[in-house]
Symmetry: C2
Subunit: 764 residues, 2 copies
């Protein structure tokens, strides 16, 4: 192939390296105003009165919006309202502003003013009288029948505060009966922390509502079309009267802005509707950390049962995750945690999962890279180790015996036939990490530093269909000089999608790459795309291009056949040269100009629905535990991932490396710590501990390439996968180093030291 598989530099590299690329905070519109938000100081309260008159009277204030003068239509600022085909439920439980704040930071009112300073001052002039209400912060506490009710409609005599009802998945036969037949049973439970996406760019939007009833929003969303639909529904506008675009760049996403960005778009729009001027609202880092979706923390419990030969015949999974004050993706995510992270990897004939998305009076949890699968994996993979130890089996062999293989029926009725290479990935991970040489040395080690190695595997989704609306539209045209221009409404949120998609486009259409360009779309001018999420973008855009390319090529070939009197079926094109029976006939440049002068543009728009696929991968992690301080360092992660076909190998490895690194933080240092009455302590990069260059392990990302049957050119997605198994692999590695199994994450020195002490391990 000419372009697919090649190390081609990022098309957005120049813009980003030189600072010329525009992000939302760079946008300035004429007559633009600036917004600030009044947020609740209470975790749960009722607003008894609000007086905005002083704020309104402050010179320079152009609009004040609150729950009193803004739509109180219930909506969901994440995407599922428009993404979930029936019968999948969607919880509508929030309003743009509220008179009943449900977490510290909940939006009461907002001000738009000529300057940020005036807006800040005006917010302080809003007088609010609150009546504090009882609050609850822990999901298990919140589930108790007498717990304070976070969302009044969730009163349930048995289990309180359950958002959208529990997710119950079941496959095969009776699980309780199956456990009775098991020779060996393993159980593992753990507590996972709330962590943050901590993307580089905070949420932001510039919204302009004009007197013609049209709302235009330039913002940081990962999903322009869902954002358009959410805003249209929330503000009762026809969909055709809402435009959403990126500026075009988005400084990272990691799931935090699938749907609207925090509430930036809705707040800016509500204010613009009052003043008919553009309103810019950019979250501070503190607001971004504490007032937008995070990853679900909570309680997980796994039970596996096997016959003595190692066949796992029973599985029971449980998750009670803290979804915070509002649903957003809470329900769906608990589903993916069960379907992918818990039940998707192994072919277990009697399996079930019960997932509780639990409301609490904390900031909302929603989508974050991995979307429930890291949580599921984190309970399954340590349990596999425990089971293997009980069985006296090598855990990798145990895994390989039980992984889902081609033709197997597991919980998913939906996945199309694909390539199943989990076992190969496990073998590669073991081999490349010298796993067998390094593993099982806990008892031989003494002294301060103990090393260990662990392994984990899992699956996830590439594309979330059929569980959510998943379709794409791509337009491609040949310009009058023969160059290719491609558009879609999928944002470039960082991974290099725009470069890789263009590599695929040039490959499939048969044009040269250097002069081709992918232009970022907006919802006014390009067709529906659900956005950059769910490990889907390059896979689904390629699927759409696969359908589009023959149609665009047919237009060109028909033109050449007609004008050159050549047999249509013998025409071909590669690298913008048209051949007949292998002989060069004419260049695309020549016929594009000729066609243009004759009144013709070769242009094609195609809309397709791609199927969902299952990714395959495994990772080993090597750690060093300082038994004196409890400090755990991750030394190396070996990460073989089956990418089907690597469109752009460095970008592909970049995705794996980024995911692994984020998961190292998840396992060892990152945690949102709640202080009752104050809210989250970790509001910025000083107090929220991400891995730094210093704590970064060596990451060996290995691109396994077994072209996926269902993927265009064999392509399958990679975006989220790197993050999923790492925490479990590190967990297993720490056990391998110390013989102590931990149950609460991240593995801070304090937790580790306490665990080691309890087990009597010291630096002797």
């Amino acid at each position: 192939m000419k372009y697919v598989g090649k190390d081609i530099g990022r098309k957005d590299g120049y813009d980003k390296a030189t600072g010329r690329g525009l992000f939302t905070s760079d946008i300035f519109l004429p007559r633009m105003t600036y917004a600030k938000v009044l947020r609740s100081p209470y975790a749960h309260a009722k607003v008894l009165s609000i007086d905005t008159s002083e704020a309104e009277a402050l010179p320079g204030v152009v609009a004040v919006a609150s729950f009193k003068n803004t739509t109180n239509k219930l909506f969901n600022c994440a995407a599922p309202m428009f993404l979930t085909p029936p019968p999948h439920q969607c919880v509508l439980d929030q309003t743009v502003f509220t008179d009943t704040p449900k977490y510290i930071g909940d939006e009461i009112a907002a001000v738009a003013a000529e300057t940020v300073e005036i807006a800040e001052k005006a917010v302080k002039l809003i007088k609010v009288e609150y009546q504090e209400l009882p609050a609850v912060y822990d999901p298990l506490e919140a589930m108790k029948p007498d717990a304070p009710k976070v969302q009044p409609e969730c009163a349930n005599p048995q289990f309180n505060n359950i958002c959208g009802g529990p997710i119950e998945l079941a496959f095969g036969g009776d699980v309780d009966e199956a456990f009775k037949k098991c020779d060996v049973i393993a159980e593992y439970e753990l507590v996972l922390p709330r962590v943050k996406q901590a993307q580089m760019e905070t949420h932001g939007a510039v919204a302009t509502y004009n007197p013609d009833g049209h709302l235009e929003v330039i913002c940081t969303t990962q999903a322009p079309y869902p954002t358009k639909y959410i805003l249209a529904e929330a503000f009762d506008l026809p969909y055709s009267h809402v435009t959403v675009k990126n500026p075009p760049y988005v400084g990272g996403g990691f799931g935090v802005r699938i749907g609207i960005s925090g509430k930036a778009e809705a707040i800016a729009a509500a204010l613009s509707m009052k003043c008919f001027r553009p309103v810019k609202y950019i979250y501070t880092r503190e607001e971004d950390f504490t007032c937008s979706d995070s990853r679900h923390g909570g309680y997980l419990k796994m039970k596996l049962g096997a016959t003595k030969d190692g066949k796992i015949i029973a599985q029971d999974g449980f998750a009670a995750l803290n979804t915070g004050a509002y649903a957003t993706f809470g329900v769906d995510l608990l589903g993916v945690c069960g379907a992918c992270g818990t039940l998707g990897t192994y072919n277990i004939p009697n399996a079930r999962y019960l997932g509780w998305p639990v409301y609490t009076n904390q900031e909302t949890a929603g989508a974050m890279r991995g979307y429930g699968s890291p949580q599921g994996c984190s309970m399954v993979e340590p349990c596999i180790e425990i089971l293997a130890e009980k069985l006296g089996m090598d855990s990798i062999e145990l895994r390989k015996m039980n992984t889902t293989k081609e033709g197997d029926q597991n919980w998913f009725p939906y996945w199309p036939e694909g390539v199943y290479t989990t076992n190969e990935c496990l073998d590669i991970a073991a081999e490349k990490s010298d796993y067998y040489k390094k593993h099982g040395k806990a008892k031989e080690q003494t002294g301060r530093y103990r090393r260990g190695i662990g392994i984990a595997t899992c699956t996830h989704v590439t594309n979330a269909g059929p569980f959510c609306v998943e379709h794409n539209t791509v337009t491609a045209r040949i310009e009058a000089d023969g160059t290719l221009l491609v558009n879609g409404t999928f944002p470039e949120i960082g991974p290099g999608t725009s470069t890789a998609a263009l590599q695929v486009a040039c490959e499939l259409i048969g044009t040269t790459f250097d002069d081709a360009r992918l232009a970022f779309g907006n919802t006014d001018l390009t067709g529906f795309d659900v956005g950059s999420h769910a490990t889907r973008t390059i896979y689904t855009v390629s699927k759409c291009l696969e359908a589009l390319a023959p149609k665009l090529r047919a237009q060109i070939f028909q033109y050449v056949a007609d004008t050159r009197k050549l047999p249509l079926d013998k025409l071909d094109m590669a690298e913008s040269i048209i051949t007949c029976d292998g002989k060069e006939v004419v260049t695309l440049k020549e016929i594009a100009l000729e066609a243009h002068l004759g009144g013709r543009m070769f242009i094609e728009t195609t809309n397709t629905t791609p199927p969902g696929l299952l990714p395959k991968y495994a990772q080993t992690a090597e750690v060093e535990v300082d038994v004196e301080t409890g400090m755990v360092r991750c030394l190396k992660v070996v990460a073989p991932h089956d990418v089907g076909r690597a469109v752009n190998p460095p970008l592909c490895r970049g995705q794996i490396e980024g995911g692994v690194l984020q998961a190292v933080g998840y396992a060892l240092t990152e945690e949102m710590t709640y202080q009752e009455g104050k809210g989250f302590y970790n509001k910025n990069f000083h107090s929220y501990m991400e891995p730094t260059a210093d704590s970064r392990p060596e990451i060996e990302a290995i691109l396994v390439e077994h072209p996926e049957n269902n993927g265009t050119l064999g392509i399958i997605g990679i975006g989220e996968i790197g993050i999923i198994p790492t925490l479990a692999a590190i967990n297993n590695a720490v056990y391998d180093a110390t013989g102590v199994r931990f149950h609460e994450f991240p593995l801070t020195p304090e937790r580790v030291l306490n665990g080691l002490k309890a087990a009597g391990i010291t630096a002797k």
Copy 2:
């Protein structure tokens, strides 16, 4: 019909009435800089040296561009370079900056700075040493062999300074022989002034060239795609790496910015290429008046010969028009002057036309509403009157006998069969103006004020194909809530195109209008459209929608047939309700959401090439001549125009009224007066005399509706037509009032008084 033919308010009315609509000068981009241009103080000179070092050293200056450091590739800042299919020639005779200025105002260099003030100061710091060269200003003078050469390559021993060679059109037999057979011969010659489009918004552009090699321009062009192609060629960029968009509004055009806007886009781009920052360049009103295209003035001569029964059998037309320093549309326009204005209206079996586009050292003349047809009409129609008088015939009867009728072959081999209603328009004009009652009273009148009535007809083009590239692309989609969104790359330059196009779209697709929207395109995201010019937009967009609508409807019907098990051929849709055999089945809203949830968008992109058509119309003008002061007032214009079908009657009448009013200025007050050594005196609205509310005649625009066979729903264009016959009708009316035939326009009091005095007419 539901929407076509209805008085529907403009969709852009809110934006414009409330001041919320954005124009180019409203655009502010981060790090934007401001440009000013150093223009030649000489009409013809050679730059001996230029020193920009002081300007460059001025704090706040970020870029200085001149002929020394900018591409010197020859280009044409109007559209023909990319609009004219072979063999029609295109003259490339200008560069972005020049070291040989050819008119007062020619661009030598430009500065981009942090503020306009710094840029102005820096321009004054550029030191230029000029050697003045001999100059020529009059086309007849310029054609003499020893005249100074404006463009060196135009040295021709016989006729000097001819731009692109003369336009010679011939039809039928030997014209000289035919004149010998005529019983009556009439001749008329006149001098027409240079006039300006005087659109409300001056030229402007904001150009951003980024280090990735991509140029984006937001500007005032009427033709985004041609602008894109012109800039790509001038700066040697792949077409796919240039984006052109309107902001979206354009404050009028009238032809002055088909292609780039003056040179705003090129100057801003040249500067941005030096500093990699956005550069904004907005023409002052003075620059707009004196440094961008105007209407061609010059010398015209018509000779008509008829047999005594009134059959016109010979025609000889001549035009030598002042194209100024550069070609832009000069060559093409002389062609339209001949083909439409001169030879297109009457079916004369022996006819010829010779048109000279002549270079002079004045500002360039190019496209202006009517594009040569007003000039051609202005020599033919008075000559018809003279011929009628000589024949002793009624001039209207003479016209009607000789107009081109269905099936006639005239000079044009290209026009498809259409509806020919010129004679009906002549009759309506005569009847509605009481022509016969008012006409022919010159000799009966005495006193200071004399009244007269005149008539004129002509033709023009609707769409300039096949003489230039003429194709359109439209995309239409059904949003997930069932609303319609339409896009194309045709700007809204004022006439209400965006409203009317949407009326046609809703009519043809079968959707409701209120929630439908037309979104303005840009060249990155919407397909080729040659732009808003040549009386084409609503006609050609409708043609494209006519091709698109059945395809989009077919997608919808196929979906309904499949999901509802209904016979495909019995499905229909109107007002967004789908019926089967006349019975309501489902609403578009319902199935759009259902299809979306199922992973499907109904979306269609279509590209079509519309044929060119001939408009039909006539106008009468009534005038009152003050024989004491020479002041001519136009009292009333009756203007029946065959619009085929009026999509939006008030908008349609608005086009006619605006054209007539502009032509009243052309006939009576507007004139660019050249002062040697100083340039044009009329640089603003104080000195350039447009009609005011006070001098506005009553205009009775009559919409004649004979659906055009080739037009979608019968639609034919109207944009330019109002302006074409008015000057000739006023000319004929002044003759009718006074018995004096004038030969120089506009009819200023001085000229009229001189003419009346010479004829011995006083206010006795």
